[in-house]
Amino acid sequence: TATMGASQTRSEHKHQDLVDRTGFSLEQIKNLHKRFQQLSGNEETISKEHLDSIPALANNPIKKQIIEAFFDKRNQHQNEVGSFQEISFEQFLMVMSHFRPPTLKTTEEEREALRKEKLRFLFNMHDTDNDGTITLEEYRKVVEELLSKSGAIGLEAAKAIADAAMLEVASTNVPHMAPDDFYEGITFEHFEQILKGLEMESRMHIRFLDVDTSTMRCGKSTS
């Protein structure tokens, strides 16, 4: 009992630390920790297979990209590249923190920073070869995954859409292209520019609950 108490306070310390770093509340971190342990089978780290085996994700057309995103080093805000094989709870939380909703108390600068963070996350998701630009091929892949995987439209149509989208980016960002120029690919600045109209900070978030919903959940449950 004493050791249990000690380990509890230790994890609470860690959680408190995480609160400051990720911006979640203590309750939310506790709930996510429970979920993490559920996914990992009470281990310290989870691997891609753990995430792969979530049944609800099976039908999602961008399942692979999302799972990759969790293991992507770039999303850890530490200027590394590459990807992990396994991630710890802390790293799991870092990735989740990209989806925090803004509260009433966030200032203008914080909102701007939040927005940039989310855009960066999206960008990293598209830029699979880590070279800092989204090339036509990569973008095509994105569109294909989104559309033709779900059987919506044919491959060629998806390609056409991707091309048109690329064209749009090029023309918005580099309106004065000379005949001999390349358009190498979408850089982060261009990406920001093209998605200026979207309200990222209000669209791209999910509500993390303060309430523990593990008892209400159905689906994958290990004990």
């Binding site: 994700l57 961008i62 036509l136 994105v142 439209i153 048109a164 090029a170 000379a178 979207l198 919903t213």
Partner: protein, 769 residues
């Protein structure tokens, strides 16, 4: 304004004189013998008067719009009320009594359903459900709060003596009054907000609230009426519980009735292929029946109609023909517009009838103050609770939302419905309601525009989302669902995803036509505005066709132009060449593939259809509408012409193929080629000319890579000697806002898949505007 008054006065005088002339007419009959012309006033009286009223109202609207300056400042509803006041005054003076009144039965059975039906059917469903939490919170909790607080405070005011003794009302009466005065009115909200153009989220929250609070209002009204009947002393606690239960039943029951009718409507329209003319009738009938059935069971009729419209819209729009869609849209909007006009005019007229109301300053002023204060306070608390909001609501938005809480004709009709025997203070209540309604509609209606401007509320963007934005909107749905699943939360996206699966697998199968169902997945992509539609010769273009979209898609860019991108597989495997500027003179054309793709393309005629509409407007059509319509009309003409050529063309194909192989430069001399190209030309283009101008944009000889400047907005279709690639050129007129520069995305030949510009033998234009 002077002219309007005079004209209206004349009209009314005619009516009045006509009534009095009736007596004179009858005397003629006594003469005996054969009358060549007779005065049959009593026969046509009712419909005649109705028609005259409609005419007066509509002519008034025309006259209002003569003064541009006026219409931008003063909302139409204000002017209509003022007109009603004037007319009422005239009738009163002429007749010494009030002839016309806003009858509650007329209002609830005919006028209100038209407006609510129109609103529900064209409600942007996605926006509505995204914000449903906020809407419900305001509609239910907000209205309850307002009703109770207003009622209690008025009672306290009476006890304190602020309200005069003459007002014989006790707690129950005041609670009843509070209930009916606190409901935000959909008619008024629509009328005022339509002209203000605030951003979509705010609008949908206020408007959704005005619709959904009907359940609360209905229940409170009925409950309190029964309490007042029974007497305050005899109310038992069980009755309160019954009230709560009744609320649940009324609201959920109303919704279910609406959904049942929506399913029925969707199912019926699945089979209306042979009876296209009466398709709109089904829509109107079933939506109206949803309303009446809910009224029959004393459930919430507005909820029923709203959900029927929202639910059925998706399936009905996919099933019925294009012409029926147009008919439904225009008829609904016309009827709703007329109903709104009549309501406001009658509000004005009824106000003038002094016999119906009694004035008490204390009551009126207290009510005005209380409804304002409690709404603002309630809004503030609800937004702070942060319970259900997907987005955060700023202070500015709160102000607009509380300011947008307009009361209107519903409150007035409800107060007129009160039984004067049971509610002794009815006349005072009527007067107060009239003042409140006038105040909110006129004062708040007049001032909301300057307020919105002053507060710098974000306005609605009427610009269409760019392709990238739309791709990412779609991406968000999947990303957020995935993250929710990973985090183990069963949040909004999770359920929405589940609903979409259910819809795809079961509901759409049941309610959509077979041909439509097979292509439904194209429907599900809201931003591919093109649909493949092949119409049977001479017939109506149906929603979606039976042909696949193998190789082409018309894609709308953010630049308001249509680029037809045609792709086909090249021999060496890689796919797309998208040259928007220049003809690529690649020798070694593959003629067969060309003509085949021609063939395929020609069979699939494209008809872009508006999918994304978040801005609700009854009066003004969105900007591109006119051209779109012209184009659609044009397309239909072209289609029928195409069909007649189709049969002959097949035979000529074979002959021409051999011809072309021999002589590539003469390829396009054959008239069938010319004709083949037309559909593509016409469709992607926005025409401002008459539809007979179809044959202007013909091709150029392809051995030269010349581009002919046609100064109209056409898309030129060039046939190139390159094997399978088709290139398009968009002249500057088509592109309104932005010109697509000479970016040539090609990766056909390069392994590195970068976008490169290709310098060809032809002239490259860099067009800028």
């Amino acid at each position: 304004r002077g002219t309007e008054q005079v004209t209206c006065r004349r009209c009314v005088c005619v009516c009045v004189c006509v009534c009095e002339g009736e007596e004179a007419g009858e005397q003629h009959h006594r003469g005996g013998g054969y009358r060549v012309v007779q005065w049959e006033w009593s026969y046509v009286q009712t419909p005649y008067i109705i028609a005259i009223w409609l005419l007066v109202a509509s002519v008034a609207k025309i006259l209002f719009h003569f003064s541009q300056r006026f219409t931008t400042v003063v909302p139409e509803s204000c002017m209509l009320i003022l007109l009603g006041l004037v007319l009422g005054g005239i009738v009163l003076i002429a007749n010494k009594k009030q002839l016309y009144q806003l009858e509650p039965a007329l209002f609830f059975l005919f006028l209100l359903p038209t407006i609510v039906g129109d609103a529900g059917y064209f409600m942007p469903a996605r926006l509505f459900f995204d914000n449903l939490g906020a809407i419900l919170l305001y509609a239910v909790v907000g209205t309850l709060w307002n009703a109770f607080c207003t009622g209690f405070c008025l009672y306290t005011a009476k006890l304190l003596g602020v309200i005069d003794e003459r007002v014989h009302a006790d707690l129950m009466d005041f609670l009843l009054f509070g209930a009916l005065i606190s409901a935000v009115d959909p008619v008024a909200v629509l009328a005022v907000f339509e002209e203000v153009h605030i951003n979509d989220m705010l609008f949908i929250i206020v408007f959704g609230e005005s619709l959904l609070n009907d359940a609360v209002t209905v229940v409170l009204y009925k409950v309190y009426i029964s309490f007042v009947d029974v007497g305050a002393e005899n109310v038992q606690t069980a009755d309160y519980f019954k009230g709560v239960a009744s609320f649940l039943i009324v609201s959920i029951g109303g919704t279910l009735v609406g959904l049942v009718f929506a399913v029925v409507l969707g199912f019926i329209t699945r089979f209306t292929k042979k009876v296209r003319i009466i398709e709109p009738l089904f829509v109107f009938l079933l939506v109206y029946l949803a309303y009446l059935t809910a009224e029959l069971f004393s459930l919430s009729a507005i909820l029923s109609m709203t959900f029927c419209g929202i639910g059925a819209n998706k399936y009905v729009e996919a099933n019925i023909s294009q012409k029926s869609r147009t008919t439904v849209k225009y008829t609904m909007k016309t009827l709703a517009s007329i109903a709104e006009t009549i309501i406001f005019i009658f509000l004005g007229i009824s106000a003038v009838d002094k016999s119906k109301w009694a004035w008490d300053t204390g009551l009126v002023s207290c009510t005005l103050v209380f409804i304002f204060v409690f709404r603002a306070v309630g809004e503030h608390f609800l937004t702070q609770s942060d319970l259900l909001f997907p987005e955060t609501v700023e202070v500015i938005d709160q102000v607009v939302m509380s300011y947008g809480g307009l009361r209107g004709a519903v409150a007035f009709a409800l107060v007129v419905l009160l039984d004067a025997e049971k509610v002794k203070a009815k006349d005072y209540f009527v007067a107060t309601t009239i003042v409140v309604v006038f105040f909110t509609v006129m004062f708040q209606g007049l001032t909301i525009k300057p307020l919105v401007k002053w507060l710098k509320v974000p306005r609605s963007t009427s610009r269409k989302p760019t392709i990238n934005e739309e791709i990412h909107e779609r991406a968000f749905d999947h990303i957020l669902t995935a993250v929710e699943d990973i985090a183990g939360l069963q949040g909004y996206h999770h359920w929405r995803d589940k609903w979409e699966q259910f819809d795809k697998n079961y509901l759409s199968k049941l309610l959509l036509r077979k041909s439509v169902y097979r292509k439904r997945i194209i429907c599900s992509i809201p931003w591919i505005w093109a649909e493949v539609s092949a119409c049977p010769p001479g017939g109506e273009p149906s929603g979606l066709s039976d042909h696949c979209v193998p190789c082409s898609a018309t894609i709308r860019t953010g630049f308001m132009s249509h680029i037809r991108i045609s792709l086909s597989e090249r021999e060496n495997g890689s796919g797309v060449c998208l040259d928007l500027q220049v003809i690529d003179n690649i020798p070694g054309a593959k003629v067969e593939e060309d003509t085949e793709t021609h063939h395929v393309l020609a069979e699939n005629l494209y008809k872009p259809r508006r999918r994304y509409q978040s801005h609700y407007s009854r009066h003004f059509m969105p900007v591109g509408e006119k051209e779109r319509q012209d184009r659609e009309v044009f397309q239909r003409n072209m289609k029928s012409r195409m069909e007649t050529f189709k049969s002959t063309r097949h035979k000529r194909h074979k002959k021409e193929r051999s011809l072309k192989k021999v002589n590539p430069t003469h390829r396009h001399q054959a008239p069938s080629d010319t004709i083949k190209h037309h559909p593509k030309l016409s469709i992607s283009v926005r025409h401002r000319q008459k539809t007979t101008d179809t044959f202007r944009h013909l091709q150029i000889p392809s051995d030269t890579v010349r581009q002919r400047q046609i100064p109209s907005d056409t898309v030129r279709y060039h046939q190139t000697p390159s094997d399978t690639v088709r290139h398009l050129r968009i002249t500057s007129d088509t592109v309104r806002h932005h010109v697509i520069p000479s970016v040539n995305i090609r990766d056909c030949r390069t392994p590195s898949h970068t976008i490169r510009h290709h310098q060809t033998q032809s002239v490259r234009h860099c067009q800028k505007q």
